[in-house]
Symmetry: C2
Subunit: 237 residues, 2 copies
């Protein structure tokens, strides 16, 4: 099967693949699968044997845990250009997925065999360092999440989230286009939809933001930054 010539370039958007040599990357491309997922469809379930890992091309996929009562906590929302479940196979107990994965939007992915990748790691230290980088990044993200869940309140978490969502580069109005329904963000931040709604109302009444559906216009970035103890906007050097 012939892949588009810049499939490799597409994959390199992910940290995992960014610095991999062309031949190594090609060997992965040869063995990979195309996957399409409709909204709400499961990719894998927690506890299943982890035979593949994934690269998200388009759409949005949530990684989450469920409580026995059926409550959901989203651990991470994967975006296009990111890989996930690439770290699972290294636990002694023949890897099982530690979370559920489900499409939020209609999504397209590439799937890779864990064992093909494993062989690659033995001979390519580029690949290995890419993987270590991805894992290290995820570790750091999880620690940050634990900190904000335990040492900060719901308003802090939401504001921090909004600030991260403001496009970096843009010189224009610092607005946020929410990529998911508010309920999804609520689950990611471990707050109830009602509470999220109330916090937005509070920020709106304080004149910090304006809300129109999924579009949030930030009226006072500095006030938001103060809420999360950030110093007065650092300029890019």
């Amino acid at each position: 099967m012939n892949r588009s010539p810049d499939t490799a370039r597409e994959l390199r958007r992910a940290y995992l693949f960014a610095d991999m040599s062309e031949p190594h990357l090609q060997s992965l491309v040869n063995g990979m699968l195309d996957i399409h997922l409709d909204p709400g469809k499961a990719l894998f379930r927690q506890g299943q044997a982890a035979e593949r890992f994934y690269f998200l091309r388009e759409g949005l996929v949530k990684l989450f845990r469920l409580s026995p009562e059926g409550d959901e906590k989203i651990i991470e929302i994967m975006r296009p250009g990111e890989t996930f479940a690439e770290a699972v196979m290294f636990m002694g107990t023949q890897g099982r997925y530690p979370v559920n994965a489900e499409a939020i939007n209609s999504s397209r992915l590439y799937a890779f065999e864990q064992k093909v990748f494993l062989d690659l790691l033995r001979e390519s230290s580029d690949a290995t360092f890419g993987l270590l980088g991805s894992m290290s990044r995820r570790l750091h993200m999880l620690v940050n999440q634990i900190e904000s869940l335990t040492l900060q309140n719901a308003t802090y978490r939401l504001v921090a989230y909004l600030l991260e969502e403001i496009p970096r580069d843009v010189k224009t109005a610092p607005d946020v286009q929410l990529t998911t329904p508010k309920g999804v963000i609520a689950s990611r931040l471990a707050i109830q939809p009602e509470t999220l709604s109330r916090i937005l109302a509070k920020l709106r009444q304080g004149g910090l933001i304006e809300v129109q559906g999924n579009h949030i216009m930030v009226r006072d970035v500095q006030a938001l930054r103060n809420l999360v103890h950030l110093p007065p906007q650092e300029q890019a050097p």
Copy 2:
């Protein structure tokens, strides 16, 4: 300097070193440092450049974050035979420690240069897989922690902790000897010391446990297991 002949064996208790070839392990042993830490003394601070990682020989070290208000959340309590901060150096931004580390008890450690280890990884896939295993394990632990912080209440977290602390093998009374002051456990579980005390009182009144200082006698293991939705004691096969 001549190391005791079984230093290598001591190190192999850690997953990171368990399957490393003897010569590789020896090369690390040659470059490592002995460190002693008195109780309450810091090993490193969040944000410092991460030049070393550590193996804990004796004692207890806490890894934690601080809020701007000075509240502390313990992310992990390291025990003898475990390594930590070995994953830090792979983040693009020339590694900085993502947490604080401080001795709880008087502790002895070995310290390793990150860059020596880095060189080793390039040529030893045993070392690499050891590292991947350690990181994968830690990732899993953090996800579990996020789940229990968000989907479970304080009683659940404490009971789950107690059950984990019951010595695996023992056929005798299933008791728990707390290795740290209760306040430390409270911080690890993200509850206040007062609340922890009240939960223990509740369990005591229910006849599930008895408490004598740092020694907790479990009177009804099954009742505890039920509280965390575990099935009726699985027998070792």
